[in-house]
């Protein structure tokens, strides 16, 4: 876009905001206006709630909302993965039925990809979808599903053909979560939280028009969803730490929405090791005077700051339009090392108190939560092992692991008997 067009567009937006923004509106009402005007998703097509603006222009639009003190659409969570997937691979029926309520936030979505038997190996899914009469009938079990218990719709990856190689036998569906064949049970973690669900699908039904793309195209569609997942995780973080609200009904509703959406993630900072608590705790317990513990604190701070600066280097490179280099891919691995070391250091700093959980435990139990949450840092979102495979193969160009499961019918591949 030329600078001139930019200026005109932003002026138009300012006018529109001046005419329409009112903090006493309801959240859904305001978002409906954003959907209709296209200002909520300016890079989407005009016919689907957007304004056909280039993607790079969206940050400028958002900045204008900020300056104005107006709320923008919350571009977070599974529903945005759904939107991206539907825009790219869905039918007009899907776009018509789902996109608007994704923008307004009225529908809750969940992602039904992982299974107990295929953690790192998503394409090994065994949940079956079979056409019976004029409907797809789905049976199987999904896991690590956030919000399944309150979701309206689920993005489902299921196997429709076992006689072709694994990636070729998958199909992609939009599943009505509020039907009898869908049961969501909370999945309790070792830290006591239950942020995820297991979803049992027993003769759950999907109308043929709710299939996304053709049968056998499921892996391809899922790849689109997954590509947006990492980005969504980042925006989730910034959503959770969103700034001070203004005064008015809409801010209250937005805060309430954030609280609800963030509740399952309350332990995520602990999972990452809470490096921020190390120094204050060391002063509190007197461990700061112990030269042995000081060494471990230093090790942790060195690793943590170096990882932060590595991420900063990656961002700087990106902003200068350079290829990002290896720094980006290394972040996940670094953060799992930091979490593990942080748990070690917190243990040393707390000494015998490291045994205590609950409100009497150090920092109201936060230290205990670190000590029983950090193992998730090296598992969730791709295990350390998967990260190292990716770094060695994609960043360092080393040979790929020989695969034994890609060139023969799925039914012949050895599969899990345990989960």
């Amino acid at each position: 876009m030329t600078d001139l067009r930019e200026q005109e567009t932003l002026e138009e937006l300012r006018g529109w905001l001046a005419d329409n923004w009112d903090p006493e509106r309801g959240l859904v009402e305001w978002r409906s206006m954003l959907a209709d005007s296209g200002w909520g998703m300016p890079h989407w097509p005009r016919e689907w709630y957007g304004r056909d603006l280039p993607a790079g222009f969206t940050p400028l639009v958002d900045a204008e909302f900020d300056r104005f003190g107006a709320l923008q659409v919350t571009r977070s969570g599974i529903r945005m993965l759904a939107a991206a997937t539907i825009l790219e691979h869905g039918s007009d029926l899907h776009r018509q039925k789902f996109l608007r309520r994704i923008i307004t936030g009225e529908d809750v979505w969940c992602q039904l990809f992982s299974e107990p038997g295929s953690g790192s190996d998503l394409a090994g899914a065994t949940t079956r979808a079979v056409m019976v009469g004029n409907k797809w009938v789905v049976n199987g079990q999904k896991v690590w599903t956030t919000s399944a218990h309150k979701a309206h719709w689920g993005l489902l990856l299921a196997r429709t053909d076992v006689d072709v190689p694994k990636h070729a036998g998958l199909s992609y569906f939009i599943l009505d979560m509020q039907q009898p064949g869908v049961e969501a049970h909370p999945l309790r973690q070792m830290n006591g939280h239950a942020s995820f669900n297991q979803v049992f699908l027993t003769d759950a039904e999907v109308l043929p028009e709710f299939q996304v793309a053709a049968s056998g195209e499921g892996w391809n569609v899922a790849t689109t969803t997954l590509m947006h997942e990492r980005r969504a995780a980042d925006s989730l973080r910034s959503w959770g730490s969103a700034g001070q609200p203004g005064t008015g009904r809409i801010y209250e509703e937005a805060q309430e929405e954030i609280r609800t959406a963030m509740a399952p993630y309350s332990w995520y900072p602990q999972r990452a090791g809470r490096v921020d608590l190390v120094m204050p705790r060391a002063h509190e317990t007197g461990a700061i005077r112990d030269p042995v513990i000081r060494q471990e604190i230093a090790r942790l701070l060195i690793m943590h700051k170096s990882a932060e600066w590595t991420a900063m280097r990656a961002r700087t490179a990106q902003q200068r339009g350079r290829p990002q280099g290896p720094e980006g891919s290394l972040g996940k691995l670094a953060s799992s090392n930091v979490a593990r070391l942080a748990a070690r250091v917190h243990t040393m700093v707390s000494g015998a108190d490291a045994m205590l959980a609950g409100p009497e435990g150090p920092c109201d139990g936060t230290i205990a939560e670190i000590l029983v949450s950090f193992p998730a840092a090296s598992i969730a979102g791709g295990t350390d092992e998967i990260q190292k495979n990716i770094i060695s193969e994609r960043v360092l160009g080393m040979p790929k692991e020989t695969r034994f499961d890609t060139d023969r019918p799925f039914r012949d591949i050895p599969r899990n008997t345990v989960s």
Binding site: P116, T347, M348, A352, I379
Partner: protein, 371 residues
Amino acid sequence: MKFGFSEEQEAFRDVLRRYFEDRSPTTEVRRLMATDQGWEREGWNRMNSELGLAAIAIPEAYGGQGFGLAEQCIALEEMGRALVCSPYFATAVLAASAIELAGSEQQKLALLPGIASGETVATLAFCEDGGSWDVKGVALEARGDGTLHGTKSYVLDGQAADLVVVLARAPGTTGTDGLSLHLVRGDAPGLERRALQSIDETRRIARLAFDGVEAEPLPGATAPVMERVLARAAICLANEMVGGAERLRADALDYVGMRMQFGRSIASFQVTKHKAADMLLDVELARSAAYYAAAAHDEADDGVVALASLAKAGAGEAYMQTAIHAVQMHGGIGFTWDNDTHLWFKRAKVSEVFLGTSAEHRERLVAYWRD
């Protein structure tokens, strides 16, 4: 010194392993850890009547079986392996050692038979709010009138114990001077007991407040005696930890052997194989140190205090490392409540600091060995 187990000892271990496999599967551990006390008299009594476990290391003269620490450590290793919920460590390790090493003949005759039979559940109240297992950190006072004033914390099974052996000091003393041990009934007036919530739900700890509690002194409590009590406890804990680490290691190995991803067993990935080899080495080294320390204790080796610290520090690192690897080898499943790995993971974490952190025991080791 050569060391290794005799046929009889191996047979004893086999009996215990089968017993605990039968009596203490993880379903039972999960049931007990959800109870208020964390264990039940019934199972505890059965364990003692059928196997006489609390009696193992207590001299025959006091109603025990008169075996050595080596035999007791076999039992502890198996209990650590099965994560048995019982007041064994508090009673048969901590309290029994304190009474045996510091009690008068009369006290031993009066108290040890009850401990040996399992009838008396006892514990040792050693460290205080600072969390230090160094006698220098003791502040609880035993006054001239025979009453105790102060608090003890992290007391194993402190809330359930019938009998509490309490480490105290004479008013005005510091360091290693003026130490004394005292017997207090669990229901003594002036004793307030409060459960602390531990990360490890299979083993309970409590905070005990003594407000002028009348107590009976044990005559032999000095700093060197307490050092021996702690050394014995550290050796026992090290063996228990080795049992837990071995269980985690073996279970993780079984799991990766059964688990398929990408059309092949996870156990076939070289990285998994090498991790399994490292885990075996970690556990075997810790095991050797734990066994050696127990054998040295029974040979009345002068260096046993140093060896106890060596074994405790070694087992502490190995157990936690094994637990971290074990969760990782299970992947997402290993982070769930329903998977059993976290039960040992949490025991590993708590054992790492109980009786002193690994760093503290390393420091002690060098202090003993520096010449």
